[in-house]
């Protein structure tokens, strides 16, 4: 019988979905090898994009991956930590960390209590604000399984095959970047961002260093604006010409509900200029 025939599809639909709750990481990794099973983090994106029959879900809630550990050098966040968990943990120790701003403005209060950072990085749901800050802060993803290892977030996004047969265990963020700006471009408060802009930099002895400028929502998913970074790197706040810095951006957009590609490019240029101005203002205030 053809798999496309209605009666066969109905059989698939009526088969009870498996709910698998592994107790150990190694047990979970055995299940992850089966491509007919899906990983369940918070579950929000799965349910929104329910594609009919899924043979089973691998529930990671027993694996103690909901940690947020803060040291002088690193912030280690388990894949099952929710956005609310992360904001709560970082708000006291690192209130200026760009993740606090970005994640606390994602989706809604109720969703932030379920969205996990691992799920967001794996699936990039439309409400996720995590990608730009994760790349801008030089975050590293720890994978377990077939592709066990440490990878920059950008590499995982460019090569989704890394996630095949693997699980995101945690994300590690170096503690640096004394100034940061995050912008999310939305039509209304509860809306999916058309693009986000993240700027992180160190600011010492009146100079910007380690500058990172990342825009997400572009045609290539995300872009690190190295041309913009070079114009800020090594400069004092007084030397940064925000208009010149943001001229001729090497990015493009596809059509979105917010507008045409040309409009979005114009808007992104304006918002990037404002973000650079805000960075300068923050640095000037730090200088005192």
């Amino acid at each position: 019988m053809s798999t496309r025939s209605p009666s066969h599809r109905e059989e698939l639909r009526m088969a009870e979905m498996l709910w698998i709750r592994p107790r150990t990481l190694s047990e979970a990794l055995e299940y992850v090898k089966d491509e007919s099973l899906h990983v369940h983090g918070g579950g929000t994106h799965l349910l929104r994009n329910w594609k009919g029959s899924i043979r089973g879900l691998i529930d990671l809630s027993e694996l103690d991956l909901d940690f947020v550990r803060i040291s002088k050098e690193w912030i280690d966040i388990g894949a099952m930590a929710t956005y609310a968990d992360i904001v709560r943990a970082l708000r006291n120790s690192f209130p200026e960390n760009v993740l606090v701003d970005a994640l606390s403005r994602s989706a809604s209060t109720a969703l932030r209590n379920r969205i996990t950072i691992g799920g967001s990085l794996a699936l990039l749901p439309p409400w996720s604000n995590v990608l730009g800050p994760a790349i801008a802060t030089d975050a590293i993803v720890s994978l377990e399984g077939m592709n066990r290892g440490l990878y920059p977030v950008a590499d995982v996004q460019r090569n989704k095959l890394l996630l095949k047969g693997s699980l995101i265990h945690s994300i590690r963020i170096p503690v640096r970047h004394s100034v940061a700006v995050f912008h999310t471009e939305k039509r209304v408060a509860f809306d999916y961002p058309s693009f986000t802009i993240t700027i992180c930099a160190d600011f010492e002895r009146d100079l910007f260093t380690n500058v990172r400028v990342v825009i997400t929502g572009v045609a290539d998913l995300f872009a690190r604006l190295e041309s913009v970074e070079r114009k800020i790197e090594g400069c004092s706040p007084a030397e940064v010409n925000s208009r010149a810095v943001c001229a001729s951006l090497p990015i493009s957009f596809t059509k979105k509900p917010l507008g045409s590609p040309q409009y979005l490019l114009e808007l992104a240029s304006v918002q990037l200029e404002r973000c650079v101005m805000k960075l300068v203002s923050l640095a000037s205030r730090k200088r005192g």
Binding site: L47, S108, A110, F190
Partner: protein
């Protein structure tokens, strides 16, 4: 599959399919105070507290809630003995059709449990996932502030 659920302080054993949402399981077992709105986590009408955290029950698999404390709006207060938050919503005229109200009240309860003296910004942030098509939100925000005052005065 089967599981123990603790809803409004009472233990229940529910049978359900692995792919069922908490919303559907609760409503099927008589908790129709949990309203079904958009089924995509936008409107907040289905909000419940799961281990004291506000969630959209339409985007929670029931299987992940086994053994957890679930609070619906009927667990807060009754018609004869309403919770101060429920009373504040009535007193401030914050209820029109009432469809969004259970979610609004639970979001308010979650906020005031964590932050008894919220600013306007805190209130807007806490209720950012609860939509109302009737009231225009002004009276809802008044009700939240009124509830905060009354709870602070232990009324």
């Amino acid at each position: 599959m089967e599981g123990q659920f603790r809803v409004n302080g009472v233990n229940h054993t529910f049978s359900f399919s692995a792919d069922e949402t908490l919303l559907d399981v609760l409503r099927r077992h008589g908790f129709t105070d949990v309203h079904c709105g958009c089924r995509e986590g936008s409107c907040g009408a289905c909000a419940v507290l799961l281990d004291k955290k506000l969630v959209n029950s339409c985007l929670v698999f029931a299987a992940t809630s086994i053994g957890q404390e679930i609070l619906t709006v009927s667990g807060l207060g009754t018609r004869d003995a309403p919770h101060p938050i429920q009373q504040a919503f009535v007193d401030c005229g914050a209820v029109q059709c009432g469809f969004c109200t259970p979610g609004m009240i639970l979001a308010t309860y979650a906020l005031l449990s964590d932050n008894p003296n919220p600013s306007d910004e805190d209130i807007l942030r806490a209720l950012d996932g609860n939509q109302c098509r009737c009231t225009g939100y002004v009276k809802i925000i008044e009700a939240v502030k009124q509830a905060a005052r009354r709870l602070d005065r232990h009324e």
